[in-house]
Symmetry: C4
Subunit: 213 residues, 4 copies
């Protein structure tokens, strides 16, 4: 069931190591099928180059496995919590990408020092508090702190990104690492000036309404 | 029309991700055809691995689309502004390459700490002021600050490079990131000494008159 | 003899350069065959892309070469010392991976600043003292300082990781570099807070008992 | 003429971009044929992926081109100077590899903070003074400062490495960047302790007399 979505998720999962966002089996992506409301997610602890489309697990929003021969990601409960509280979101990505996680290690958000941050995120990239892994606590932290940003950092842990599709959430995961790296490099040179909020709003509006095809 | 130039621009565009200068759809290259005066540029928000030669957009210098089935880059007005004010330039590259953009985040130019900077740039790599994206403002900043350098940084934004050909501008984009990285690494160790202007002039003259075939 | 183990070790050796953990001929992996008690190890000073399965050297635990046409790794005596003192370990990896070795250069352990460290290592990654290469001294340092961690740093030198299998030791070598990099990046931004020991214990228990298939 | 040496040099040249030591056309390798005394060197300003074995230039030690349809590297006079003053050397590599060049930018040598430095270099990696490009000045700086090390840094410029063969010089170029990176990362964390000279001598003796096949 949901074979097309599994195939898409498989392709997106392969981009995580290619983009340098994950190591060994870390990280995961899920997608919600808008029609059935079911969620498809990575199986737990599987190497990316051994993952196959049919290995993805299908669950309902309460966590009952609808289909799948493998155990789902240990972040599943948090993904489901986010989907239940954010009907606008159909895709979630979790990584420990190194530069973004360096900010997360300190519980530090990333200010709008770059036009690329204004474009993609529309404001600072927030940082949520620490939460244990395995239950809904991470999901609660994400929902509480992410606001309208497509990305949130998790203290001492890593990154969650969200989007209308899993592909949009993956784009946010790629971009958060990219801007975190540039901001990290800039902070080693001195203190950048934040872009003023009015300019941030204009940049974000143009990027989300005019940019692209 | 201008099929050979589109083909060349397509090849140069593929080098941007290969050289680590761009992320997702960011960055763009344009070229001016010296005969017709028309400008060929990347379409807006297209992934590099999906870009085809025929997707490039052809415009005249006033911004009228002459040929193309896609919307041109949202930096088009600034590219055209540069071409109108710099008849010596037929190629422009724009990136957010991380090390150069770290200097740009701070509005900081890159002094001549390396023979490679003297060779390629002939002096410090200047930094222009902040400008919004979408209109000619970035083009105006570039023209005002770039001088005889093939590269200029844009405050809180990224890099523009120019050249007699798009290939020359791409070379400058690769080299500005390379020297920005080495200078960044050096600045973490201490304060390098600038090469004296007389030596800079000699190095640049040799590189542009003797080096190569 | 032990052809399957040599084949596996060869595949694991090829992952060392692919994962960026070694340079030129540096680094090595060994595995103990649980049945015979023999140890298979990389030959000394061989390039990874020239290494073949049949080039691996087989020794008994006292260092007598049982099979092999090449000289064994110059770290062999230390690998054997570890196997003799840790019957629970059947795989050992040694690298000079850059971020982990930066901590090692300072004789500095890596605290639990990240959930990924709690997950994989269950506590801080310890650092052993300086030892000369060629004899058992490194093995003694490893056994004395590694405790229940799968990884230990060696002052002014590099990293040793251990596991129930060579593959598990390789995973630890990949993860120690990954978390060393993120912690290094975090320390450039400020001082992260350690995860409290109770949470570390819970995370490690979940990762080693629930995570995976 | 010297077709085998050209073929080998071509293969070594291709390793420079693969190992991340050069950018665009920067860097070069030369080799001296021990029988004829002729030197084979990279042509000036040629892209690595366009270089062919037959493009290499053959010169005698005084700089007369013996064979070749292209202009030799603009560092040729310095390579020849080194060969004339160091009959023990038959291979030279020049790069601007980023971490080593960061130390060079500051005119700073690299102390023996790692066993890998003791192994390969047998002591600190020295830094020579600034010299203009094109004549013998760089060669003079190299000969004056390199001593028995296979590598020397050039102030505000880059790296020269030497060896009994071009392959040995390439290994030194790879290793100098590797250790420069790890030392750079260590210096961001604090002040490493140098390995004491007696241990350095023992490590270097073992590496050059026992290590390898």
């Amino acid at each position: 069931m949901l074979d097309a979505l599994k195939e898409e998720l498989w392709k997106l999962h392969l981009m995580l190591p290619k983009e340098g966002l994950v190591t060994w089996t870390s990280g995961n992506i899920s997608a919600r099928d808008p029609e059935s409301g079911y969620v498809v997610i990575k199986p737990s602890g599987v190497m990316y180059d051994e993952l196959r489309p049919e290995d993805h697990v299908v669950l309902d929003l309460e966590g009952t496995v609808v289909e799948g021969h493998l155990k789902p990601s240990s972040d599943t409960a948090s993904h489901l919590y986010i989907y239940r509280h954010r009907p606008d979101i159909n895709g979630i990505v979790h990584t420990h990408s190194p530069y973004a996680t360096a900010f997360a290690a300190l519980g530090r958000s990333i200010p709008v020092y770059l036009t690329a941050i204004a474009d993609e995120f529309g404001g600072p990239i927030p940082c949520a508090g620490f939460a244990l892994i395995g239950g809904e606590e991470i999901g609660r932290q994400v929902v509480e702190h992410i606001g309208q940003s497509p990305a949130v950092l998790l203290k001492n842990h890593g990154v969650f990104t969200v989007g209308k599709t899993a592909r949009a959430a993956l784009k946010a995961a790629v971009m958060v690492e990219d801007v975190a790296r540039t901001v990290h490099l800039a902070l080693q040179l001195g203190q950048p000036q934040e872009i003023d909020p009015e300019a941030v709003a204009k940049l974000h509006h143009r990027y989300t309404h005019v940019y692209g095809q």
